[in-house]
Structure formats: C-alpha cells, structure tokens
Subunit: 222 residues, 2 copies
C-alpha cells in the first residue's frame, strides 16, 4: 500500500492528504515523530521533514512541493494545478504564498510556539511571537476573503492546490482553536465550502492524544 | 522584451537568471528595491518579493518556484527538471532543500544579517546568527560535496534546477566573500564546473555599488 509519512498538525502533510483524497488515490497514513530523527526516516528524507510519500513500487517522494507536483504528473485525471500556463502560474504563486508567507508569519508563530515548542524541550512559548501570529492571521484571512470574493476558488474557477495549501494551514490552526472565523465572512464561507468536500472527511476525524479540537472543528455549519 | 525583476544578491533571482540563460531565453534585468514596496511592483507580486518574470505577452509569473516550473513547461527544449518521475522528484527535493533549508540556515544568516539588515534600517547585525550561518554553510558544503562525489550533477546525470538553486545561493555568498572554498574540495570542483558554463557569465560580471566582490569571484580557476 502507498504510505504517507505525516504529522497530524503539519499543514504541509494536510495539504497532501487533501490532494490525495481529492484525486481518489488510496493511501495509508503513518505518523512520523520527526524530532526523533530516526535513521530509517532520514534515509527517506535527509531533510527530516514530513510529508514523505512512498509509492507501492518503492519510489520515495520527499517534500510537500515535490509530492504535489508529482501527484499531478503521475495522476493527471483530476488536475489540481490548472490547465493554461497563466492558471498554473497563479496556482503556484498562491501555493508559495501559503507554504512560505502564511507558514512563517502565522503557522510557525502559533502551532510551533503554542503546541510543539515546550513539548519538544525547546523552552517556553514566546508571547510576542504568538501575538504577532494572531495579528498576521487576520491579514491572511482578509487576503483569502479578498480572493474568495472575486473567484470561485482561491486561484480561479477550479479547486486547486492553492485551496488545499490554505486549508492545510487553517485546518491545523482550527484544530487548535486558533482561528477567529468571525473576522472575515468571505474567508469563512470559502472554508465552509472546502470543508464540505468529501476529501476533507478524514481530516475532520483526526484526534490527537492530549489535544482535543473545539466542537466546531468537525462541524460543517460552524 | 521579456523582463526579470530581480536583486543582484537574491539567490532566488540568480537561480532564475541561470535557468533563463541555460535555456537561451533572452531577457532584460530590472533591479527592484523590494523594501520600497512600490505599488506598481506589488500589483505584479503582492508578496513583494523578487524574482518576478513578465513575458512579452504581458503574462506575469511571480515567485521563483512558479517561474522555474513555468520555464520548463513553456520552454521545454532544454529541460531542467529531469525526465522520469523519479528524476523529477529528486530535482524538486533538492530544490526545496536549497530554497528552504539552505536559504534559512545560511543565506538569511549571512546575506541578510551582514549586508542588508543595517542598510535597510532593521538594526545591527546579529553576531550569533552570523556565526551560526558560517557553521551551517560548512554542513551544506559537505552535503553538496557528498552529492557531487556520487553524481555528475547534484540531482543526477544532467544539470538541473537543483544545481542552479545551489549555485544561486553560493554565488551570492561568494560575491560577498563568505565562502571558504577550501572546506570541501568536491563542492569546490562542482562549483567550478557550474561556474564555467556560458549561462554563468552574466552573474560573474555583476558589480554592486558599494560592495566589491573578491578577486576570485569571477575567476574560473579560483
């Protein structure tokens, strides 16, 4: 069976889980505690990060960027990168926006500082970073709302990896009850639409030991 | 004429300059002082980063990841991402390694802290970050040397975006005389081979006002 090495709160793993499910590609999840730096895992991905996809034929694809592009090349039936060169440039611009900017400005400040740092022995959460993370999240919700008011999906008329990248971050933050959905109604409406898709079901069923999600996490009418 | 908005010390801009030149795609360079946050430039790329490519037909491609993938789709004659799925996964794994890990662990600690931070009014260079950057650079030179001892080019038998990503970072650091090439002979030999390619010539002719490169910067037998 195809295996995806992941972590439940990793936005990058969630992005790939959504893409695999949207494309109806079956896979098994395996949790990888990346901080343990297992030699067997470092052989799959010397960078030591999740997600890593291992195909049934043994092909290893490491890094969420490489996996996303691979999935569209190997399983093109349900394309998630757009069709024209212009559409593809827009999907990738937004992918980079969410993977890099949103990741550094929001997810790192909240998921890392609030939920992982102390647990992994890296000291106390940095209050200033957390406050900055919440402030940045408002700007990013406004950016998502801006796009959602002008387009059916974030990158255009079709759902794409850009939606899954954004939803990967937001669903991880939402699990930890870090998203104030009242801040931007258009962003909330967009998230409700992504969340209602069949590909989202497995994410909504996630339960992490010691961290219960808020009641609205799995509620489609949150 | 096709225009690439760039900054001379941006490793990500250098990666795209090398790819354009390797593919023999003519372009004009335009320096964008991203810290000025010009409204006209933010319209091209709301993230406010370089590089941004503007095609003659008006198509705007923002973000070095989007540009690299675009170039191979729009101009496939000289492919820079490999051919098989396995080759493409390896090129992209390494691209992410250099763009993200090397970028954060080395280039940000050296190029940003030493050359841009004070100039842009963000305070004094952080000595600890700079020392960490030099230490990390040694590990990365060893990683490059490890790959170069086993393969013709970093990702395999053909030159690829992985070589240009690594060379983009190292050439920017080398311009600022930040690379101790005696640390790893295999990495140095690999860099000498990339540097000798015609696509590298324009980078070696770069001169930034107020920052002279060391004599060996443009020397092919450094």
């Amino acid at each position: 069976m195809r295996i995806l090495h992941h972590l439940p709160l990793s936005p990058y793993s969630r992005k790939i889980r959504l893409a695999l499910a949207e494309k109806r590609i079956p896979f098994e999840l395996r949790v990888e505690k990346v901080w343990e730096r297992r030699p067997e895992f470092l052989e799959l991905n010397p960078a030591g990060t999740v997600p890593v996809l291992v195909e049934e034929n043994g092909l290893v694809i490491a890094d969420s960027y490489a996996i996303a592009e691979y999935l569209d090349e190997a399983y093109p039936d349900i394309p998630l990168f757009g069709r024209t060169l212009a559409e593809r440039a827009e999907v990738r611009r937004l992918l980079s926006w969410f993977d890099n900017l949103f990741g550094q400005e929001v997810s790192r400040n909240l998921i890392w500082e609030r939920h992982l740092k102390r647990q992994l022995g890296h000291g106390h959460p940095d209050g200033a970073a957390i406050r900055q993370g919440y402030a940045n999240l408002k700007h990013h919700l406004d950016e998502i709302g801006f796009l959602a008011e002008r387009r059916t999906w974030l990158a255009g008329a079709q759902i794409s990896m850009a939606d899954f990248a954004a939803a990967g971050h937001l669903s991880a933050l939402d699990y930890a009850n870090d998203v104030d959905w009242s801040h931007n109604q258009s962003a909330r409406d967009w998230y409700a639409r992504v969340k209602s898709r069949p590909c989202f079901r497995a994410l909504l069923a996630d339960r992490i030991s010691g961290l219960e999600p808020p009641p609205h996490y799995a509620d489609l009418d949150f």
